[in-house]
Amino acid sequence: MKPTSANFYTNVDKALVDKTLQKALRKTAVGFPMLRAKAIDALPEFDTLRDDAVTLKNDVLDNLDYYLERFETKAIEQGGQVHWCSDTQEANETVLKICQAANAKTVTKGKSMIGEEMGVNEYLEEHGIEPIETDLGEYIIQLRNEPPSHIVGPAIHVPKEEVAEAFKEAHTELDAERSLEEPQELLEEARAILREKFINADVGITGANFLVAETGSSAIVTNEGNGDLTQILPRVHIVLASIEKVVPTLEDASTILRVLARSITGQDLSVYTTFSTGPRRDDDIDGPEEFHVILLDNGRSEMLGNEFRDMLRCIRCGSCLGHCPIYTTIGGHAYGWVYSGPMGKVLIPNLIGHEQSKHLPNACTMCGKCEEVCPLRIPIPTMNRVWRGKEHEAKYSSRASRIALGFWAFMAKRPKLYHLLAGFKYSILGKIGRKKGRFTSVPFASAWTEGRDLPSPQGRTFQQQWSDRGGKR
């Protein structure tokens, strides 16, 4: 999809007044953190497992070339085919070639963020092949022609009435008067429609949560089972994976699996964890006859050598999204591309270029919650600060904010003047707002105070209070 990240502020304005979105986001903000907290309470080893996961992913990154080659050797030994693709264009072309060789008319798809990154659906459609998303959330947003608004729950922003609308528009062969009021009715309809698609598809495309160097396997996790029906029934199975998805051994995959689902849905494991190795064996009863793995780089090999390297540990659990005060206020679409939330704002500029994403580093209060909950302990705030610096250097920030920062820098270098002015400002604001303890509106900042109150200063600056106490707490 064409990114709209450069219009971040306009996107945010839209999101803040979208009532249905706001309702959905309030659920997300409570739901996911609660589920995670409960799961972690039940597993005393959780933090040790996180440390293990960080260590093993760092080892992968240090030796990425070797692990990838090792994965390839093993996959080929078992009849698989591995395709190295530098960018999304090459990956799309490769997928198309495989589909054309299989004479494919329809392709079922399991959820894949790499597929979103490639825009593989649009690409296949342009070339006369019908791609069908089978994850219920992805299916809904495909019908609505939207990008996902959450990497784990792609359609969390869509109320059930709008799902019903999309289904009525798409499934014209069904009775127009049928009831689609209840979520269960929507589920039954999707189940029946997609069941047929699974059975008739020529090619199945899934993502990969891991590639295992030890065995040449790819692994996916789903709760619906759609990823499995996608790969068992068609004749050809294509796996879309980015290069950092490789792990050394099955034991290492198991370690990461223990922290993956717990971090988001609070499950010990997702319902289905599936390891696929090569095509169907000679005496197997079922399974695909061809097994292809697309290895996509798309900027990651550069990230390996710059200040964003730690981001490559990300396992796309989605935990940082539901815990982020910004994400849970503006939702995923405001970020303007397929990724969103804390991980998105660091990743997007790396993948589509800084000039396309401009203000994204401002989608952050520097509260540090994302790093705190990240199972791979990724220092997202630190990396975001790097992007902020680059934003300032590139003069993407507004003229007003650069002037204000310049003014602040001028004052900060002149402590006497700074204290005088700050003390004056605080005492005035304190006098006006002390009674209520907060301002519900502030001149020139009404958009800011629409969503929250501004706490009023208590009349004295921090430095004043500090020196009153003789520099002690």
Partner: protein
């Protein structure tokens, strides 16, 4: 240059080195050929009895139902009762594996048993699980000549026979059993399925619903026939 060469060159450039040398390769190969577990949670560990108990508890928490049986001869009756209770048809599609074929199905003439892979019209499927994992109540199924994978996903009701002695404490124990049973260099079957509960989604308004694409219910016949 091929994309493969370009990508590898860029990776090495970012890592500030050329291809790995002998010693480094040896160290990695050692790690890959003798995989050692990372931290293993205490939860699933214990003797056979404890493992079976933890397995049942965890599987039930994930919306599976578990029937404890002591003898193969109890299977037909137990299955019939389960299907009746859940208002399911009596026709079952059974994986064509020896231990399921040996079940005395004749004892329950109401059950219609057909062996083979799942078909679109099958409502109930029965497999013999390769194993289970206690720590999360997970069923492990391996694909093979007698074990079709589609049977785990197509029918509305998924029933797994699981011998309690096949329950591992944790995933790592299960993997070492996969390795040792195959005793080949490439030991992985085409598909390894870990199944932890019935299919579910929360994609519509974050409401949890069961049975979106895979089975709506998962029933485990946990057979402890050590005594017999």
């Amino acid at each position: 240059m091929s994309s493969r060469e370009i990508m590898l060159a860029k990776i090495r450039n970012s890592l500030g080195r050329g291809p790995l040398g002998g010693d480094a390769i040896q160290a990695i190969e050692k790690r890959l050929k003798n995989p050692t577990p990372n931290t293993i949670p205490a939860r699933g560990q214990g003797g056979a009895k404890e493992r079976a108990a933890t397995f049942s508890k965890m599987a039930s928490q994930c919306d599976c139902t578990v029937d404890l049986l002591n003898d193969v001869s109890e299977i037909p009756g137990a299955l019939k009762t389960y299907l009746e209770t859940n208002n399911q048809p009596m026709a079952i599609r059974v994986a064509p594996v020896a231990d399921l074929q040996d079940i005395p199905w004749d004892e329950e003439p109401a059950l219609v048993v057909n062996y083979g892979n799942a078909e679109e019209t099958d409502h109930v499927g029965l497999i013999s699980a390769w194993g289970g994992v206690a720590e999360s109540g997970t069923i492990v199924a391996l694909s093979g000549p007698q074990n079709p994978t589609a049977l785990n996903f197509l029918p509305d009701t998924f029933v797994a026979l699981l011998y309690s002695k096949k329950i591992a404490s944790n995933y790592e124990e299960a993997w070492s059993r996969v390795r040792s049973e195959s005793n080949q260099d490439n030991f992985m079957p085409r598909t390894v399925n870990w199944i932890t509960g019935p299919s579910r989604t929360a994609d519509i308004e974050q409401t949890l619903l069961l049975g979106v694409h895979g089975p709506r219910r998962v029933h485990i016949l946990l057979l402890d026939n050590e005594k017999s």
